[in-house]
């Protein structure tokens, strides 16, 4: 029997290490013949800590496991052969098994949560490094590029540029030195696809980079990873040394002339360093500021040498494509968006976690069939896709297909895979403000429009949410937004206004309510809220008056209470504590 414990960042933060120790102790204490193993994030972050018992072909997945539960599982399930059905989230013994994986199609995440990411043997055992071996021994670099082109793989970092084409440009650039860079500077709020891949299957990324290196004629790769991902960096470092020990990295690999080495460069967490040219500047030790393109990195990149940059998820696809053939990949997805896409589901969704679905699935399917629907069964309002560069797609457009071009049409973007689900309690002005605050702070400060324009937009949004919005503010917002998009150097500035523009497009009346009626329809903007006690419901229990931090509620016992609006600071405590639904939020 084998027991796997999900020890990605999500598992660890849910207490996975203690669970692992408890299992370890129990197994040792009972001298059991059980292989205890670490694995990466399985994607079901909502049910961490996850413990999977695999016995022959049978698997039982326990969710939300505590150390105590772990001991009980050993005693009951392993020693006495009695599974504990009430803790099992997926497995034959339970009737209501989790359907999270049913509609998923895992290519990038093929090994995540299955193998031990710290063991190269595990990776090799599932066919690891066969892709690069096959590429170097069976194909010319041009053939490899052709395969990637045929697979239809498009850059998963957000831009969606055909990967094969990018490789071809880099291949064609004449130089004795070329670089491969893996962009692991995942920075969108709420996005953790790349982290999970790096933590759960680091070798697949290394292999993808090696194949790219072989294809473009590069012998050196950099992984630019944010320092905020210590576990991912540690697993990458280990993976690189394991490869070096086994001559999977180094000179003259697989009996060919192909040589490749990989270094890790830690970024200091500047969002803009996810932009190719800023990332290159950062590796070079300069301030992470984008520069004008052309020249494109494929011609003049790191240290002025031709450079190919792809993100983690893109690289994680590559070995699979070589091994399974481009046709297998291209058979998935829509006409122009092939393969699968990993999404980090977050926000007001029941199953927040990591899901990989084939392109072409609708948003509704992702939200409801994979993600289990909206938390507390509230009303689905919108999804925010693509992070701060993306936008909001309203629930009414939930039937739209996951496809680069279809999503672009809505004003949002596919992005790197962040999908934040919003419900009726989310204020769309506030959500726009949230993302704009992020981009404003993360702007490198180089371009006028991005540096000051986003600041002024943010100030307008702030005054709208404070109830100080003026007629004309929306026109001013739109005018500024279009100018910022038109006149910024890099993607950060060019897309920074998207959250505002898409919310204005689909939820303009919400903005207008803030400005004209001084009301926040989602009851979210504190300055525009009024709390009132409904006389009919109030029992005069005095709880609210006692909880009010500013003594703004008065009333005698068993008599309806009243809120002094002038004194009220709108903290909402009365609303939260009232047991009779007598406090109304307006």
């Amino acid at each position: 029997m084998k027991i796997k414990v999900g020890l990605g960042t999500c598992g660890i933060s849910a207490g996975g290490r203690a669970v692992y120790s408890a299992l370890e102790e129990e197994i040792a204490g009972h001298n059991l013949d059980v292989a205890l193993q670490v694995t990466g994030c399985m994607g079901m972050c909502y049910d961490e800590v996850l413990v999977e018992l695999v016995d022959k072909d049978e698997s039982h997945l326990y969710g939300r496991v505590s150390p105590e539960m772990a001991r009980e599982i050993i005693n009951s399930h392993v020693i006495n052969g009695k599974p504990v059905p009430e803790w099992i989230v997926k497995g034959k013994v339970v009737e209501e098994t989790d359907t999270f994986f049913d509609k998923q199609d895992r290519i990038v995440l093929r090994n995540c949560g299955i193998i031990n990411p710290e063991s190269i043997e595990d990776y090799i055992a599932v066919g690891g490094y066969e892709g690069i071996r096959k590429a170097t021994q069976n194909y010319t670099p041009e053939e490899v590029i052709e395969m990637v082109l045929q697979s239809g793989l498009r850059g998963r970092g957000g831009g969606g540029f055909p990967t094969g084409l990018k490789w071809r440009f880099a291949r064609q650039a004449q130089n004795d030195k070329k670089y491969i860079i893996c962009n692991a500077d995942e920075g969108d709020p709420g996005a953790f696809m790349d982290r999970s891949v790096l933590e759960g299957d680091p070798h697949s990324v290394l292999e993808g980079m090696m194949i790219a290196g072989y294809a473009i004629g590069s012998d050196e790769g950099y992984i630019y990873a944010r320092a905020e991902y210590p576990l991912a960096i540690q697993r990458l470092k280990d993976a690189i040394s394991q490869c070096e020990e086994r001559d999977l990295l180094g000179a003259k690999l697989f009996g060919t002339d192909f040589s490749f080495k990989i270094r890790i460069k830690q970024g200091a967490g500047a969002f803009v360093c996810g932009e190719e040219t800023a990332l290159i500047a950062s590796i070079e030790g300069k301030r992470g500021v984008p520069r004008i393109r052309p020249p494109f990195p494929a011609n003049k990149g790191l240290w002025d040498k031709p450079t190919n940059i792809n993100n983690v998820e893109t690289f994680a696809n590559v070995a699979w494509i070589i091994l399974n053939g481009p046709e297998a990949y291209a058979s998935r997805g829509t006409e122009k968006s092939k393969g699968t896409k990993v999404f980090a589901l977050a926000g007001k969704i029941k199953k927040s976690g990591l899901a990989e679905v084939p392109m072409g699935m609708t948003i509704n399917e992702v939200v409801f069939d994979v993600g289990g629907g909206i938390k507390d069964d509230r009303k689905f309002k919108a999804v925010q896709m693509g992070g701060p560069s993306g936008g909001c797609i309203p629930a009414s457009m939930g039937d739209i297909k996951i496809d680069f071009d279809e999503i672009n049409k809505t004003g949002a973007i596919m992005g790197s895979g962040g999908m934040i689900v919003l419900d009726e309690t989310t204020c769309m002005v506030d959500i726009a403000k949230f993302f704009l605050t992020f981009t404003q702070n993360e702007s490198c400060g180089k371009c006028t429009f991005c540096r000051i324009g986003t600041k002024r937009m943010l100030e307008i949004l702030e005054r709208i949410t404070m109830g100080d919005g003026k007629e004309g503010d929306l026109d001013l917002l739109e005018d500024l937004a279009h100018k910022i998009k038109a006149a910024s150097l890099c993607g950060l500035g060019q897309t920074a206004p998207n959250p505002v523009l898409t919310t204005l497009k689909y939820f303009r009346e919400e903005y207008e309510a803030h400005i004209r009626d001084k009301k926040c329809p989602a009851h979210n903007c504190v300055a525009l809220l009024t709390y009132r006690i409904l006389e009919d419901n109030c029992t005069g229990c005095t709880l609210c008056a006692r909880k009010c931090p500013v003594d703004a509620i008065s009333g005698t016992v068993k008599q309806p209470h009243v809120i002094d609006q002038a004194a009220c600071i709108k903290c909402g405590q009365c609303y939260d504590v009232c047991r009779f639904n007598a406090v109304e939020k307006l």
Partner: protein
């Protein structure tokens, strides 16, 4: 490259593919695209987004500075979308630009008098200039300096520290200093046009003054007996003595204004009658003199009730009433105070001011209110007279009611409301109503057809002061209602400009839109901002003692003393930006008519950093264009400045947020020039001069031999600073870049330690003497010496800092005048600078390559030079070449700044460079590919050389020089490749690494390898002084005549002798140094050198019987001289200088010589006592003679065409600022060297 076709604004254009859109548009002059972050000298950055253009097919706008043109591109550079985007970009930048363009004082003054400017001028003691500056906007400063309402002081930032600067008193101070009106401008010649000015008050006088200055014939028509308007008839004598007003009016009218008094509009003439009388334009400035009513019954028919304005006017007209008992004045303005204080002086027993609001709301000046209180005037605040109580027709008392103040709408004064039942009676003997005045404009209504406002004032266009009648303009109180003198002056000036424009162009237009950034526009200025400024209270105006005042009409304010004024100027915070005229942001803000209101939000505030003696860093003004950061890192490779923070907080500061002196800043100040705003500015020696205009003078730096183009920005001869100019960025060899010396070194020229008068030594001290006396004394001494010891006992010395003209005249003076060959430069002589060392091998000791060749070389070798410290600009050229791929080899025995940048650092032992060069020669000759025959054909002495270098084997070289074998191998690999172009840079004047033969060995190597000249090849001899090269060319050497003629060149010598009408003295090397040391030389004439700055040189002076020194400043040598002749500085005279790479550059005279004469005049005058051959009219005259005499020429007519260049010989010269880097630079062709002295390889 094959040209491509693009379309710009509908026009089909041919362009080169690697150009950016901006480059193409600028080259072909298609549009003036604005940009703030672009600098053609560094890589495109694309951050300001001002230069955006639209490319068809692209959704976004692209920065034209960074977007390359491609075939078929269709570009629009100027449509509405682009304009709107550019405007918004500017508005956004300005919305985070916490800075003042001009002082709030200047802005708040209706006449925009440059207060900051005149305060700065006063602080420098430049009173006349200050007065002239004031009179550019206000011709009545003596009067206004006494009566102004001082909006300037109300807005003065100094109030954030303690009190405002006493701006108006300072104005009065300079005006009073010139009370005799010594400063008088010259009006332009009469242009035949006539203007009628109706009303001789401040507005009419102002309009008359400015029109008269423009050459118009002005007649003032005045109803009252005298001019002055309310200044005369409204302001009491004790505030503005009428003698002063009279003088000031006379000063204006004396410029040629005709006056008619006692004539009244509407009675004696009309606008139409004036027009038909031939006046071309009319200015109506009739004022507002009828008093407003108090709305009391019997106000007009009660004895003892007087109108305030009438009261003041009558007194002025000599009608001094006797007041007695109690006088009540109603009102709260300055007229009320004036009437009250006047009443007191008319013997009233008690004077009370009755005002319906409180003291806080009084419109009168605080100082006036205070003075009234001091004089004993009482105040009845919150009181309103409601009824006149009279006996018969005589006033007895007034009934009043108390008021209380009620809040009014924001911005308005509180509203007074009567308190019911609070009525009381106040017994008074006189009641003076001073609650305001009305305009009487009945005369222009109706038949005249001049439109009025509904309250009776004349309707005008505010921008031009034009009325509804063509050619008729109006201003002053008649337009504004009773307001202020300074507003009347402002309108009079505007009207004068409009009238002039109307008469010239047929219509008047409002001045162009102007945008000014102000700190107070964003929010209240934070209290802490001025905390660092020490409190320094405002000077108090000296006054007549209060008890003396009331018995007389003598002026109360006595005026600031000079000491008080100078102290007060120190209090000015200099708010207005020093870069007012050079700020690109301001320029574009005006052009795009920006409006930042919509974008006012958070603004970043920073402390101004003055930690560096030469720089002021004001990040508040930074717009993040990064030009400074990029120049510092890309061009200089220093990176003293950097961006800090991200997002809205991003800003440029010294690296790591240190202070500038803590970084590796070399103080070159190139960041100042590239900064498009005032974020990096020069820390001047003087105050920031507001919006005072600067003249630009292109010139040449004279701190070293590179001859960089510089630009003097001159306010006057002692107020200037040095920067680059737009032209020099494009046209100078230094591309506008300067070093520390070039930018800040010229400050010495305004030093007070300047010699202006000749000095004669008497009894161990110097006394001032006239030029004649000094000359005669010197001549007598020299003649005495010659007759006693012969001409060989006199020696003449010239500095390598002197111009070619001066140097030429000095040697001619010695040879033709004094008949001696004792001519030298002490600098060369005493420090053993060998000017002849290459004569025998290549014919003359000179650069064989221009500095431009550095840019074309594959390998640049620097020997005996340090770059950074001495010649930053050469260093920049090397760094630039490196970026292109050139390799830089540095010979230096120790680590210097430059070693960090060297691709190969040869750290050989000091003095062993010769060994390496000989080793290189050996290796070269040993190479199989070396064509010995070819070398022999163009050289002599090859076998001897070969023999000499034979022992310099690789191992010997390594052991002798201490250079590692690998370094030497690398050097060989760089220099042995015959396809590589090599430039050697060597400082002839430096002793840092010098050994006797190393320069010779360098030349041997260059000659051997055929790299002595030609594109990207040759030798650049750096020199220490501006005209070190000229010293040799002009023959300031015992071994050379002008044109580098040497002892054995008899034909040339006799040719020159003929030209000079002189048999030349024996041409021999007389060893002057020995001669001085051992007493053979009895008299020394030293021009521009200071040998005695070093004590060790004293020994050469011990035997001298007579020393003449000519210099611009006191030096150690002038202190010892028998006669001192003050010299002009290079800023004060014209002359040419020859750079180290033989460009001859003309330096123009910027200011007049403070010592009265240019130096060529002094030398030729002195020489004239000895010979008749020194008759010149100008420096140009001298230059023409040099052209004739020197075979090297000294072209005075621009760059010769290449076809015109004599075969085998060319030397070219650049006129100031016109050097064209595109044109090939020819120093000498190889044929030249061969024709002179066959290239000799010297052992």
């Amino acid at each position: 490259m094959k040209p491509i076709e693009i379309t710009i604004n509908g026009k089909l254009i041919q362009a080169t593919p690697d150009k950016t859109i901006l480059e193409v548009v600028r080259e072909q002059n298609l549009d003036d695209i604005p940009t703030l972050c672009h600098d053609e000298r560094i890589e495109p950055f694309g951050s300001c987004f001002l230069c955006v253009v639209e490319v068809e097919g692209l959704n976004k706008l692209v920065p034209s500075c960074a977007t390359k043109v491609t075939n078929g591109m269709v570009i629009h550079t100027d449509n509405d979308r682009i304009k709107s985007s550019r405007k918004t970009a500017l508005e956004l930048l300005l919305s985070n630009h916490y800075a003042d363009c001009i002082g709030p004082c200047v802005d708040s003054c209706p006449a925009h008098v440059d207060a900051q400017g005149y305060i700065a001028l006063i602080s420098m003691g430049k009173y006349e200039e200050a007065l002239a500056l004031i009179k550019e906007q206000n011709p009545l400063p003596e009067s206004i300096g006494r009566v102004c309402v001082r909006n300037c002081e109300d807005s003065c930032r100094r109030q954030c520290v303690e009190e405002s600067v006493a701006i108006n008193f300072l104005k009065r101070f300079v005006a009073d200093v010139d009370a005799e009106h010594h400063w008088t401008p010259q009006p332009k010649a009469a242009n035949g046009k006539r203007i009628a000015v109706i009303g001789g008050g401040p507005s009419g006088l102002t309009c008359s003054y400015y029109l008269t200055m423009e050459g118009y014939a002005v007649t003032i028509f005045e109803k009252l007996p005298e001019l002055g308007g309310m200044l005369r008839y409204g302001i009491p004598e004790y505030r503005l003595p009428k003698k002063i007003l009279d003088d000031e009016i006379k000063w204006i009218t004396d410029l040629g204004v005709t006056i008619q008094t006692g004539v009244e509009m509407g009675k004696d003439f009309t606008v139409k009658s004036l027009m038909s009388d031939g006046y071309d334009s009319v200015y109506l400035s009739v004022g507002a003199q009828s008093a407003s009513t108090m709305r009391l019954e019997h106000e007009d028919d009660t004895e003892g009730v007087i109108k305030g304005v009438d009261f003041l006017r009558d007194i002025q007209q000599g009608d001094l009433p006797e007041l007695s008992g109690t006088v009540a004045i109603v009102g709260g303005g300055n007229t009320a105070i004036d009437a009250a204080r006047t009443a007191l002086r008319c013997k009233a027993d008690k004077v009370a001011i009755v005002y319906r609001r409180s003291v806080n709301e009084m419109p009168a000046n605080d100082e006036e209110i205070k003075a009234a209180g001091e004089e004993g005037i009482q105040f009845e605040f919150l009181t309103l007279p409601t009824r006149i109580i009279r006996e018969d027709n005589r006033l007895k008392a007034i009934e009043c009611i108390r008021m209380e103040l009620h809040e009014a709408k924001p911005g308005d004064r509180p509203r007074p409301v009567p308190i019911e039942g609070s009525e009381f009676t106040m017994p008074v003997d006189f009641l003076i109503g001073a609650i305001g005045q009305n305009v009487d404009t009945s005369f222009v209504k109706g038949s005249e057809g001049c439109e009025l406002e509904k309250w009776g004032t004349i309707k005008v266009d505010e921008g031009t002061m034009a009325t509804s009648m063509p050619g008729v303009f109006a201003g002053g109180d008649a337009v504004t209602g009773p307001l202020t003198a300074i507003m009347s002056i402002a309108q009079g000036h505007t009207a004068a400009n409009s009238i002039a424009q109307y008469l010239k162009e047929g219509k008047a237009e409002a001045p162009d839109f102007k945008f000014y950034s102000f700190k107070h526009r964003f929010d209240e200025i934070p209290e802490g901002e001025f905390e660092c400024i020490a409190k320094d209270p405002r000077e108090k105006m000296p006054e007549l003692p209060a008890d003396e005042r009331t018995s007389t009409f003598d002026e109360v304010d006595l005026g600031f003393s000079e000491e008080q004024s100078l102290h007060e100027t120190e209090r000015c915070l200099e708010c207005g930006c020093s870069e007012y005229y050079d700020c690109a942001l301001r320029k574009y803000a005006d052009q795009f008519e920006v409006n930042i209101e919509e974008f006012i939000g958070e603004v970043k505030r920073y402390d101004v950093d003055k930690a560096h003696p030469f720089f002021v860093l004001d990040p508040n003004k930074c717009i993040n264009c990064g030009k400074c950061v990029r120049t510092c890192s890309e061009m200089l490779e220093i990176s003293a400045l950097s961006f800090v923070y991200r997002g809205f907080k991003a800003v440029v500061k010294p690296a790591m947020e240190r202070t500038l002196p803590e970084t590796n800043c070399v103080s070159c100040g190139n960041c100042i020039d590239v900064c498009p705003t005032g974020a990096i500015a020069e820390n001047f020696q003087h105050k920031v001069l507001g919006i005072l205009k600067k003249e630009n003078y292109d010139s040449i730096c004279h701190f070293c031999s590179q001859g960089c183009a510089i630009n003097f920005k001159v306010i006057d001869e002692n107020i200037f600073h040095v920067a680059n100019s737009e032209d020099s960025v494009i046209n100078s060899h230094n591309q506008g870049y300067l070093c520390l010396k070039g930018r800040f070194g010229h400050r010495y020229l305004s030093s007070e330690d300047r010699l202006t008068s000749p000095l004669i030594r008497e009894n161990r001290t110097h006394r001032k003497a006239s030029w004649d006396e000094a000359m005669e004394t010197a001549v007598a001494k020299i003649k005495e010496t010659i007759s006693a010891h012969g001409p060989e006992s006199v020696a003449v010395f010239g500095s390598p800092n002197l111009s070619n003209e001066e140097l030429y005249l000095l040697q001619k003076f010695a040879r033709v005048g004094l008949k001696t060959n004792n001519i030298h430069s002490l600098t060369n002589m005493l420090y053993g600078i060998d000017q002849d060392c290459l004569d025998d091998s290549i014919g003359m000791t000179t650069s064989t390559a221009s500095m431009d060749e550095i840019g074309k070389a594959d390998v640049i070798v620097v020997m005996n030079a340090t770059g950074s410290e001495e010649n930053l600009i050469t260093e920049l050229k090397i760094k630039k070449a490196q970026k292109r791929g050139a390799k830089f080899v540095l010979f230096s025995s120790s680590e210097i700044k430059l070693t960090r940048f060297a691709d190969l650092w040869i750290d050989n032992k000091k003095g062993t460079s010769t060994v390496i060069m000989n080793g290189l020669a050996r290796e070269f000759l040993k190479m199989p590919a070396t064509d010995r025959q070819a070398i022999e054909e163009r050289t002599s002495g090859l076998s001897k050389l070969e023999e000499m270098v034979a022992p310099f084997t690789r191992s010997n070289v390594a052991t002798t020089t201490g250079t590692s074998v690998s370094s030497y191998e690398e050097l060989l690999s760089l220099l042995m490749d015959p396809d590589k172009k090599v430039v050697f840079v060597y400082n002839l004047d430096s002793w840092r690494e010098k050994a006797k033969n190393d320069l010779q060995s360098v030349v041997n190597f260059l000659v051997l390898t055929g790299r002595l000249q030609g594109e990207g090849n040759g030798l650049v001899l750096m020199r220490e002084y501006a005209n070190s090269s000229g010293v040799a060319d002009m023959g300031v050497s015992p071994n050379h005549l002008p044109g580098q003629v040497r002892v054995d060149e008899t034909e040339e010598i006799s040719r020159i002798g003929k030209l000079w009408n002189s048999s030349l003295p024996m041409f021999k090397d007389s060893n002057l140094k020995e001669g001085m040391k051992f007493g053979k030389i009895k008299a020394a004439l030293i021009f521009g050198e200071d040998p005695l700055a070093l004590v060790e040189n004293r020994k050469y002076f011990d035997h001298l019987g007579f020393v003449l020194v000519s210099d611009s400043f006191h030096t150690h040598s002038t202190a010892e001289a028998d006669v001192v002749l003050p010299a002009a500085t290079y800023m004060e005279q014209e002359g040419t200088y020859t750079t180290c790479d033989r460009r001859v550059q003309l330096v123009n005279r910027i200011s007049d010589p403070k010592n009265s004469y240019e130096n060529w005049q002094i030398i030729s005058a002195l020489a004239g006592f000895f010979s008749e051959n020194f008759d010149y009219d100008s420096a140009e005259d001298v230059r023409k003679e040099i052209e004739n005499v020197s075979r090297l020429g000294l072209c005075s007519g621009g760059i010769p065409n290449l076809e015109d260049v004599q075969p085998g010989f060319s030397i070219y010269q650049t006129q100031l600022g016109t050097m064209n880097p595109e044109k090939p630079t020819i120093i000498f062709s190889e044929e030249f060297f061969r024709s002179r002295v066959r290239n000799r390889l010297r052992k």
